[in-house]
Structure formats: C-alpha cells, structure tokens
Symmetry: none
Subunit: 224 residues, 2 copies
C-alpha cells in the first residue's frame, strides 16, 4: 500500500537525521536549552557553515526549531520527546552494541578510576552529610525536578563555578543518564582541581523512575 510506504518514508526523514554522530552531539547540546548557531559551532568544533547545515536538516526533519533573536538565530529541540528518543536510543545501544559497552568500560578504567557510585551508596553517603550532590544539567531541567539536596551547576558554567563548591567534601555528580557525558566531564574537572569526585552510575530519569524522592524547588543552586 502506497500510503504506508509514504508514511514510513516520512518517518525515515526523521530517522535519517539521527544517523550522524555530529548531529546527535548537537542534539545533546540542544537538550540543555536553546543555542545560537555559532555557540553550537564552537562547542562542537564544527565549522559554522557545517553546523548551520546540520541544524537546517534537523529543522526540516522536525526535531529542532529555529527562532530569530536580534541578529542571532537560536535553535532548540522541537519537543522534549526528542530527549526521550535519545534516551531510548542510548538504552538500546547500551544493551545491544558491544562496542558501546566496551567503550564505556575502557574509558572508565583507562582514565583514572571514575568508579561510579550506585544509587544506594549515594543515599547512604548523603545521610552522612559529608557529600555534595552535584546536578550537572541545565537549570530548567534541575528546576523540573532533582535529587533532594543536590546543587546545580549547568554544564556551560562548570569550570567557572567549581570554585564555589566546598573543597573539603566529596562530590557525586549526575546528569541525565549513564551516557550523558556531562557527569564524566564534571568528575574529570573536579579531580583536576583536587576534589574527590565520583559520578552516579545512573542519572536523574532512573532515580525518579526508581521511586526515590524528588525535590522540585530551586533550593541550593550555586549559580545566579
């Protein structure tokens, strides 16, 4: 039936866009909030023209939308379901692509031992009061729910705001999930500054889904 094929071809337009690591990286950044083209270009290391073209493809595929603000154009995810899409994709890749599992475990053992902390350990250490829980997600996501007592530093301001953390306390960082690399970066940055830091093995979605308590207010954000 022609209709079904045409429909699948439309779905494939969206699928095609997910077939490029660069675009997935851009989507990762966009998951933090709207960004201008050249902000995305600098953060991803791509040329501006190339970034622009990728963004346009994603816009045509309906994954991303653009809005002009002054002389810049800000791109944002079309929908929060795009994050869901990526999370499901990550989960499938983790379960069925041996390369992904190997890469993660190699990366963890090769670069110092960033031994991840389990949710249970986090709870135990949190009760001792000697640990700083660090939420490395964009402020909007933090505001929409976070681990109780967690401090929020958005990935973009990580390096500048590390100084505001208590250097005497152990830090446990988390972000969106096991394959969200911000927590890796945060732990690396923290250790470079002399902190004792670990990352949570999972992320906030898993935390929430497991039924642990969630705090919604803007409680202890370090940034302004």
């Amino acid at each position: 039936m022609a209709f079904k094929q045409e429909l699948n071809d439309q779905f494939a337009r969206m699928g095609k866009v997910l077939g490029s690591g660069r675009r997935l990286e851009l989507l990762d950044y966009l998951a933090q909030g709207a960004r201008s083209v050249d902000a995305l270009a600098t953060v991803s290391g791509l040329s501006v023209a190339n970034t622009s073209q990728h963004l346009q493809k994603m816009q045509q595929a309906g994954l991303v939308r653009a809005e002009r603000q002054g002389k810049q154009i800000f791109y944002a995810l079309a929908d929060d379901e795009v994050i869901t899409l990526m999370t499901v994709l990550h989960g499938l890749a983790e379960r069925h692509l041996a390369e992904v599992r190997e890469m993660v475990s190699m990366h963890l053992t090769a670069r110092d031992r960033l031994a991840p902390v389990s949710v249970e350990e986090l709870l135990a250490r949190a009760q001792s009061g000697l640990v700083t829980i660090l939420d490395v997600r964009p402020p909007e996501e933090y505001a929409a729910g976070h681990v109780p007592g967690a401090v929020n530093i958005s990935p973009a301001h990580l390096r500048e705001q590390i100084a505001q953390l208590d250097a005497g306390r152990e830090v446990i960082a988390y972000c969106r999930g096991p394959y969200c690399t911000f927590s890796f970066e945060a732990v690396a940055a923290l250790r470079a500054q002399g902190f004792t830091a670990h990352r949570l093995e999972s992320g906030f979605p898993e935390w929430k889904q497991a039924g642990y308590p969630v705090e919604y207010e803007h409680s202890e954000q370090v940034s302004r």
Copy 2:
C-alpha cells in the same frame, strides 16, 4: 572530547538504520513477532536479497536479532524498546512534520468521525460483552498473537466477510499500530454497511508491550 564523539558515532549507527522507509516497514512487521526472510520479503514487496541486506544492517546496528530454525532464519526485534523507539518517532513526526498530518487526514477521511478508542476503553467495553473486537491483520500475524477474544478478518477479505459479523454489536478494529491503515479502512467499510465502528487508537504491538494479555490460538476466526 573524543570519547563523546565516538559514543555518538555508535549511537548514530543505530540511528542510520532508522533512515530508510523500507527498514521501518520491516520493523513494523517484525513488531508482530519473528519472521523469516522470505516472509518479510513477500509481505514488504522487496526482493529477498534486498530484504536480507536490510535485515543484516539492522542486526549489525543491534535493532534486530536472527535465529536459525531449520533451513530458515527468523529475525525478531532485539528488544521491545525498539517499539518504544518507533512509537516516539511516530509521535514526533505527527507533531512536527506537516506532511504526516496532511497525509493522515487526507488519506484517512474525516478523522473526527473515526474517533479512536483507547486501550482502557476497549477493556471496559470488552467486559460488557457487547463489543466485537476485530483484528484486521493478515492471518499469520493474528496467529502469532492477538488481543484475547478478537475476531480476525484479513484486510484482503474485509469487504466480503463483513456480513459474517453481528450487526447489532459495536465493533472496535485494530491492526499494527496507529499508522497502520487497515483499521481505518475497516471502520470506513463497517460504517458504510451500517455498523457502529471505531478503531483502537494504538495497535497490537503497543497492546503487547503494555503488558496486556495476548492470546495465541486460533480462537474465533471468521474467515476460513
């Protein structure tokens, strides 16, 4: 950070596979259960060699797995999350691709009048015993699993066999999913014959994934 890029390249391997309408169609069929290569080839209209190649790509990307049974090789979804992935993709496409909305409304005639029934409603009405659940999929798919108590009329014989249904009962039709067009056609045909008919808003894959009971025997098929 090279790690991040390599990781995204791995995720992109999986994404690439979603960038072909033919493969998405094959995944649609696989969502019903395991199928042999040539069963998939005939149902999709592709050549056997071509089907085989698509299946192998999907297997390498970890979306699908193969198992030999006798002289045939049966492919199946690697994981039920693949259905989730496709469902999220469909939802995004429906919301953000004007073409999809247009195609659906143009081709599926007066959507308002075909008001879909939710799974919960179906269960409630089914318990009343006053409703006929109609499975509008090919017999093989019906045999591989269907909603308990559902009656099967294959799309090819729809018009001839409508007369065998009880005209006094409401009919709720379903097929493979929200974008499977057979249920729309069935509802239109039933209404043309004076039936009270609705379509299930989702389809059998979603039903199965939601954990509702599945019946496997050949229980009440109307056709011969």
